[in-house]
Amino acid sequence: MSVLSFTILVWLGGLAAGLLGALTGLGGGVVIVPLLTLFFGVDIRYALGASLISVIATSSGAASAYVREGYSNIRIGMFLEIATTLGAIAGASLTTILPPGIIAVIFGCVLLLSSYLSSRRPRDNPDCVPDRLTAWFRMESTYPTPEGEKPYHVRNVAGGFGLMSVAGLLSGLLGIGSGALKVLAMDLIMCLPFKVSTTTSNFMIGVTAAASAGIYLGNGYVEPALAMPVVLGVLPGSMLGSRILGGASVRVLRLIFTLTILALGIEMIYNGLSGGFK
């Protein structure tokens, strides 16, 4: 296979991954790494590098639309980014020590966990009692609803901060956005409305991934000729995906994609354990 046909195939794969990532709400990264390693035989370190770069692109692309709608909470996002960026540096450093097989197994487990998390029903917790810490941090805000701006409270910043460090660690270790875990930290632990959690999470993903990017670059994970078709595919793919998501009902599509991701997760674990990654 020539570079030209390889590049075109990877570009198409990136397009599909972006679409899939946006429709399942998991982000393109969770699909890119299995796609490149399992189907294209790319070394997992190059796959992590290309995936991380595409994560930055989709996060920034999507967040540019969300921030202006007034859903995301910039204060909470910025504060929690301390946790995610520090975690990301730890995770990215771990990739230089851990054997590729172990990274693949962890990747597979996170895929299984994420597809479970993304199947959760969105729900808002109406009665949240703010604690003293959140009042001190002035994190309370409002968000737009059909009935006008609605105020919300925030609780348990410390718990959210802890889970965010783990999300950052996995982001750096696996070249993904860790969106599902970030949303979990915000809506379940910190009690934020679901829409605020998802948009703030998306807003944080780019900064988190940028923290790993320096370490990835320094270790040669970012192969430009591979990252190029991935980024140029994932970006329009995810934009298309979020447009479809806004329109018709996508329950059947989501189910198919969730099953695909489950299968990819199992495949990654199996390959990692059986020595398919060197």
């Binding site: 570079v3 590049t7 790319v42 540019s64 990017a213 670059l217 040669g220 430009p224 140029l232 970006l235």
Partner: protein, 129 residues
């Protein structure tokens, strides 16, 4: 500061951040596309070799190598420039946030944002060079 004024400033900050992100991503994608086309024209017929990982730090991979590639204006350098613009976009967003919180005289969030910025620069300059 009144709640109202803070909300207004927050709103403006959000608009600026939205535009920064959009312009950054589009610029980066355009540069990567130009470099990519050039790369395919020059080496489209070659055989790809990403199956094995080539060393942890070949000179062209780290930041100083990237700067050399960019100066040489070869296709790798142009793609790498686009990728750097992409990585710089969220960092620029954090820098804007520092300025915005400084305008609001919000010491708590100036400190929080500066910590994030320090971590980002540590990663990029401490490892990437």
């Amino acid at each position: 500061m009144t709640e109202n004024r803070q909300a207004r400033l927050d709103q403006r900050l959000e608009v600026i951040i939205g535009y920064t992100l959009r312009i950054g991503v589009l610029t980066a994608a355009a540069i990567v596309l130009i470099g990519g086309v050039l790369y395919l024209v020059q080496s489209g017929a070659a055989v790809p070799r990403y199956h094995t990982f080539h060393t942890a730090a070949t000179p062209s991979d780290n930041l100083s190598g990237i700067v050399r590639n960019i100066q040489a204006l070869n296709s790798y350098g142009i793609i790498q420039l686009g990728l750097l613009v992409l990585i710089a976009t969220p960092i620029l967003r954090v820098i804007f946030s520092v300025i915005a919180f400084a305008l609001e005289r919000d010491v708590l969030y100036i400190v929080a944002t500066l910590i994030v910025l320090a971590v980002l620069l540590y990663s990029l300059l401490g490892h990437g060079v």
